[in-house]
Symmetry: C2
Subunit: 175 residues, 2 copies
């Protein structure tokens, strides 16, 4: 497992599909994930610190998780099958002690977009599997990968998203 962070949200103009760019911590590798328009607008609001008066769906989900005495522990984007990305959201049941083991962690199958939104909203870590890291990440060869590095910004902006089309034949985002 490799820890990643959300680097940016770009648009695959060819398919008019939003793409989340994940950056693997401690490396110069990135992983793009195609997502749906509705989830992209939620991620954009988070990245731009736009708040909303009423609870959005993920806020409702999180208030329920909290009300049911659980918390988001981490999320894992674990595989790609038939051009579809899969993720897991791992909850921790706060009513179970670590020693009890069973039921301490609960895993839920999710789309990466939902998993990423929940991680961002709860400041929980996002991981990708070693398989995704070894097979589907792209190397960045520039100097700095800082958010404010113009070089890296240009790399992201000019990313040939078609490079990744081999992983995404005929698929519609992570939907």
């Amino acid at each position: 497992m490799k820890k990643v962070k959300v680097e940016s949200l770009v648009l695959d103009k060819l398919n008019n599909s939003p793409v989340v760019i994940l950056k693997v911590e401690g490396t110069k590798k990135i992983l793009p994930i195609w997502i749906g328009a509705c989830e992209a607008s939620v991620i954009a609001m988070i990245l731009e610190n736009v708040s909303f008066e009423r609870p959005l769906t993920h806020d409702l989900l999180l208030s329920m998780v909290e009300g049911l005495e659980s918390k988001v522990e981490k999320v894992l984007i674990n595989k790609i099958v038939d051009s579809t990305y899969y993720a897991k959201v791992i909850l921790r049941d706060l009513t179970v002690t670590e020693e009890e083991n069973e039921g301490y962690f609960l895993e839920f199958d999710a789309r990466p977009s939902d998993a990423i939104i929940l991680a961002l909203k709860t400041n929980s870590p996002i991981y990708i599997s070693n398989e995704l890291y070894n097979t589907y990440t792209l190397q960045y060869d520039g100097e700095s990968m800082d958010n404010d590095s113009e070089e890296f910004r240009k790399f992201i902006e000019n990313l040939d998203i078609n490079e990744f089309k081999k992983f995404k034949k005929g698929s519609q985002g992570d939907n």
Copy 2:
């Protein structure tokens, strides 16, 4: 409280906003609720029995509610404040017995669109408060209100959504 069911999904063309039409059971009254485009597409998929390979956000929410040993008991659309509709989703904690009382039911603040989607997906009842029933419903004066009644269909289609604008000044759906 009055029990309602989702009658249809229409478009407020003036504001290009989807509107859910709720019908109060045992009456000829309807309540329109403006919702967001993303939530409308989920409701449309449910009404048209379109299934999706991967879990959508509400499916993830419900799998977590189930995993945390709870269930959706009912939803209540309870008030309109400053042109915004409010709802509650009531969960039942399946680990608490009815006799224990405290914690048996858990209430969560929600947008009506999310509440309606969760009710539809779990076959749970939808209620509106007496205040909404008395103040914000519209009377239908035709004969049959059956889903297949052409007269009622026309009434819904020709509904002057501007009638309701007084309740919705400047608001953007239930967002």
